[in-house]
Symmetry: C2
Subunit: 242 residues, 2 copies
Amino acid sequence: MAPSAAMHAAPTLARPPMPFPAAMARVLPFPSSRPEADPLDAIATTSVVDRDIAIFHQGGSADALFRLVDGVVRIHKLLPDGRRQIVGFLQAGDFFGLAFGDTYLYTAEAVTVATVRRMSRSRVDAVMDEHPALRQRLLVVTAEELIAAQDQMLLLGRKNAVEKICSFLTMLSRRRARQGKDPARLHVPMSRADIADYLGLTIETVSRTITKLKTAGTIRLLDGNKIALCDPETVASLAEGA
Amino acid sequence: MAPSAAMHAAPTLARPPMPFPAAMARVLPFPSSRPEADPLDAIATTSVVDRDIAIFHQGGSADALFRLVDGVVRIHKLLPDGRRQIVGFLQAGDFFGLAFGDTYLYTAEAVTVATVRRMSRSRVDAVMDEHPALRQRLLVVTAEELIAAQDQMLLLGRKNAVEKICSFLTMLSRRRARQGKDPARLHVPMSRADIADYLGLTIETVSRTITKLKTAGTIRLLDGNKIALCDPETVASLAEGA
DNA sequence: CGGTCGGTTGAAACTGATCAACAAGGGTGG
DNA sequence: CCACCCTTGTTGATCAGTTTCAACCGACCG
């Protein structure tokens, strides 16, 4: 995988030196599976991306917009010395790759094997001009992302380790609920390093905090990267500092 | 015109200790490009807001959109126990208060005496439908705001105190440059508490870090809340962990 | 002139980071 | 099939950056 534990903090040392290498994502062409009524769909091509493979890189030429069909994708930014901040975990339906300059401002990588639909930027613009409603929709999803980013700013700036972990678990729980699945039973495909870089912690602190919640009886660790919330409400209130 | 009643709601302290209503709100701050002949202008009314007075509150009914004409406004979110995270400082030209739900997601307050133009939400929607280009512009500025939010996430999650302060100074410097003013001479109207809550630090750490930069000869403190950057490039590189 | 407020500075405490060791898979090659 | 290794996660001990608590200063104000 890409950046990991070793690159946290430590202003002096920086094991992985390069911010953004050149390697492109291994994106396999794939026939369109379910063509929706979506005009964007007509200009999209489907690809399957392996675990830990980049879909695009920070600094790379931003020539396409993507939509996640299946799997989980992380987007992150890097500091020159390799410190990493994961800015979001995407789920099915999410758009990404929005760039208003000519280069991507962050890297997108598959956390699990992921299926994405790729739309060239020029075509997206053309389709938008034809279907103003799409632009409205894109505005709404961008706005929702901004709202989520602001919540994350509150988390990163003002929450302690327990609150951060509980916020993370609550986010996963809410996603489950939105999918009509059991919100007390989470699948957590991301590594401790990913969680740490998302919450502004180290892997050790993530591990210790999860252990603490487990021994406190707040959560239970199941196998297959699954976590059970004994009481989602309690976890949610811990996330807010209760 | 006279300041509207709505924006002179209860004076808000810089750090309100009381909990806030659980109600969620959806608000977007976003910068505009040019304040020229604008159809939005026709439906706007101007107000002057005193220092530290709220323009709207987190949880309040989101019935209007605002554009900052003059002064500085801060936007912040609160945790139930009063911990505060400032998610942005707005400058002249910036839009804020756009809501995608029916209540505001956070509070907007004047950092300096501020002049704002207020546009009712229903009228904004009508004007948008009439001028599709406005919606496009809205998308662009929202995306720019999202990009800024992601940079701030990197700052909050992975930067140390010196890097945070230098990032803040660099942001102010870039704004000055964009206004055609001397980027090495900053006006800093916000208090130490505001800076602390923006950077995820305490007032004391902000003060100490600024002192450290001053004694290191990186910056000079001038009176009238002004700061001179001895070398903006150096400050910018310190912001990235150099 | 006393009081408050914003900012600075000092000392101690604490949370989370760092360094280090180890265990549990999982894959690979002999 | 098994030994080995490499990766991921856990746990312990110590360290350090930031926070907390506290005192102080100067400016401003009634």
